[in-house]
């Protein structure tokens, strides 16, 4: 059941440039377990959209199936949403994006939804550099079906039934980089300070922007043995880079000292500033990103921040040279060759 959030709020809430206050970006009241990491991410999404002055109806939210995939109900109730089938959100998002290149596509998935049943579609959405934000709310388990291990569960961690996970875990971030993803970031649901700028940067990225967010499942994965539990992550988090997203319209200098930060020019002219907390860090270099991830993994540390970005990213529409006008707006005159052309075709087939 979906609880309807009481509509009337504080009238003096600050407004963004479009004149909307933050509650305009909220969704229905969450029915997830109290304390679920996914809710924190939803809250960050609400805030990011509010601060970025996004027209909610110009954004489409898509998801698969899972607790994580339910969250689109809990943010942006003025956006169209599509809760598709398990593991297949990427293809639905691809079709939607092809139909109308002018909307923002915001995809939410889970680690089960992406790393198991959805692996093929995930890989190929990356390969096509589909212009979308793709968040995995990663809790290392199947929350909705009551806590089985997912393919991102760390080897050796325990699930609720006390069983130890025996398989090597899939590292979605390094896999995405390996596959040529043009924007790869990691964060933690409890770290809104970091999540917010990453979300903003992702929404501005003209291509596939992947954010792998560790998001503890309080019900099934918050036991001591699990490396995806809240406490574990808090202790082992290793923020190698903080991102500060600076839209061009109001450029401000970064808060970080020269020498510790690196600006990356985004395709739309905006910048991402990265502060280099890790040694030898180069967000434009795939191999160094992979290396950093490996080394963190070996130290059981979780590397967060913007790990890799390709500022020259060209999305699917560029690759296949779709016309600029959204395809769903083309009129009959623009797409139907008409009877005269058909006569010629008939002649050619005699």
């Amino acid at each position: 059941m979906t609880y309807i959030r009481p509509k009337f709020r504080h009238p003096e809430l600050p407004k963004n440039k479009l004149g909307y206050s933050v509650d305009y970006y909220e969704g229905a009241l969450s029915t997830l377990c109290a304390g679920c990491g996914h809710d924190s991410i939803s809250a960050a999404i609400v805030k990011a959209c509010f601060e970025m002055n996004i027209e909610p109806h110009r954004l489409a939210k898509l998801s698969g199936i899972g607790c994580s995939s339910k969250t689109p109900t809990y943010f942006l109730s003025n956006s169209h949403g599509f809760n598709s089938v398990h593991g297949r959100m990427p293809s639905v998002a691809t079709g939607a994006n092809l139909a109308n290149r002018d909307l923002i596509y915001f995809g939410v998935s889970g680690d089960g939804d992406t790393a198991s049943i959805g692996m093929g579609q995930f890989v190929h959405a990356i390969r096509r550099n589909l212009n979308m934000v793709y968040i995995v709310m990663n809790n290392g388990c199947y929350g909705l079906t009551k806590g089985q291990d997912s393919a991102t569960a760390d080897q050796g961690s325990k699930n609720k039934s006390g069983n130890v996970n025996l398989f090597e875990s899939i590292d979605l971030a390094s896999m995405a980089i390996e596959l040529g993803a043009t924007f790869v970031a990691q964060s933690f649901s409890g770290d809104k300070t970091q999540l917010l700028p990453l979300l903003k940067a992702a929404m501005k990225h003209p291509g596939f922007a992947f954010i792998n967010v560790i998001s503890p499942c309080v019900t099934f994965n918050n036991n001591v043995g699990s490396t995806k539990s809240y406490d574990y992550v808090r202790e082992h988090i290793d923020a190698t880079a903080t991102v500060d997203f600076v839209p061009e319209m109001a450029e401000i200098t970064t808060e970080y000292e020269e020498g510790t930060s690196k600006k990356v020019k985004m395709h739309d002219g905006s910048y991402i500033a990265l502060s280099k907390l890790a040694q030898g860090w180069d967000p434009l270099n795939k191999l160094s990103a992979m290396n950093a991830i490996y080394h963190a993994r070996m130290n059981s540390e979780f590397l967060t921040g913007l790990l890799y970005v390709n500022p020259d990213s060209q999305d699917l529409h560029h690759i296949i040279q779709t016309t600029d006008k959204p395809l769903n707006e083309l009129t009959k005159a623009e797409i139907c060759p008409g009877s005269a052309a058909l006569k010629d075709i008939n002649l050619g087939l005699r």
């Binding site: 092809l98 139909a99 109308n100 623009e334």
Partner: protein
Amino acid sequence: MMNDVASVKPGGYFMYDSTKKLHAEYIRPDINYLGIPLMQMCNENYSDPRQRQLFKNIIYVGALSALLDIEFNVFEDLLAEQFKGKEKLIPSNIKALNLGIDYVKANFTYPLDIRVERRNLIGDSIMIDGNSACGLGAVYAGATVAAWYPITPSTSVVEAFSSYADEFRTDKITGKRNVAIVQAEDELAAIGMVIGANWNGARSFTATSGPGLSLMNEFLGLAYFAEVPAVLIDVQRTGPSTGMPTRTQQSDILEAAYASHGDTKHILLFPATPKECFDQTVDAFDLAEELQTPVIMLTDLDLGMNDHVSPPFQWDDNREYKRGKVLNAEMLEKMNRFGRYLDVDNDGIAYRTYPGTHPSKGSFFTRGTSRDEYAAYTEDGAAYKRNVDRLIKKWNTAKNMVPPPQLYQEKNQHKYGMFFFGTSQYAAEEAMDLLKEKKIGVDSIRIKAFPFNQTVEDFINSHEKVFVIEQNRDAQMKSLLMIEMGANPEKLISVLNYDGMPITADNIMNQISAHLSSAPKEAVAAI
């Protein structure tokens, strides 16, 4: 080989490889034998075993051409087309052809009394395969997004769409295209993309064959239940499983009609000619959008891949695309509360909106879970029931929207009826003549769509027996007639062919007359 010999009509010719002597059991007194030592000729002329195998067929074709007096330049043209880019392979093929021709010239009286001649009897008819016609139809239908995964025999549907799009949808200066065509990673992704694009207001389709259709089951159920349009062209091949990918059949009917778990059913179209492929592809998009549901067109390998003579394509420039019940910003502005699944017009079809239409009105959540009239998730049994009952109402509405059947007589007048669809038309029409010659009177109906409408029901009701002609083993169309119309199974006599070859007129005629002569006359009269 026994079957081959048996299949020759009296007075006909049987051509065989005479390298080895023909066994006595293969000798029929009533037919002519033409022995050509194909294997021996190959062995003499080629050393490589693979070549020996390959050129045997070509020698055979050469011999045939001499016997039937086929113009030689027809072959030259064909070879040039076949080996474009590999011209060096042409001379060896020409040589093989000539081996066959020379043998005939040296050993037989040629040409035979049966000939192949260039004629011009088809008026303004055209020659084209069904897949190209579907591809062209999709261009005219205004499809802008195609997603597919290659599979024989459907591959050329999207390939044709793509090459017509090169011509008609590409800006000659910028190279930009008014179309997006994506080769998906598999059929699950292809249908997912089609659903995503249609949800977002673009006309989108995919083409596949049996195995792909099986993989699309889950998504088809989503589109049915969430009420998202989708167009799917299934070019049927011989199943089950991988089956015979290069042979024809009409055996995906049950799978297509009820694809997906739960109470799900889908609109089907059955074209019989390239022209109908063109027309029905356009219709399919109208129907899918008007009914907000998947429409599956069932063609087959024979229609899809082989050239057929067809009436020329036609397009009425006044024809508008029927985009169905879609609310724009203006309409939404005027509305009080938008209910995505409200049956406002009492026809089972609710209004939808595209994403991005209006800043504060019209947004809703599309989902495969149950919902109320306002698209909110619910597990309320009553709301669930209202929803699925409305889908049945929509289904009934569809009956009068899909292409009606073709009747071959003004009034049903005979005791017996003949019922067919798709490519069985060619043989069935011929069979009508054969039956007439035998003084067996039948009325005929060719259906073009599922669900069936009243005309189909009347046809069944007004005949004592109806011969249902289909190209599958399990009488799948007959099943639909029983399930959907409650047709009495005793009335429905199956005429089946499922060996991978198109059904023939003789076959139909024989099965029908065999049934009629074996059926006890009294029993028939008593029904």
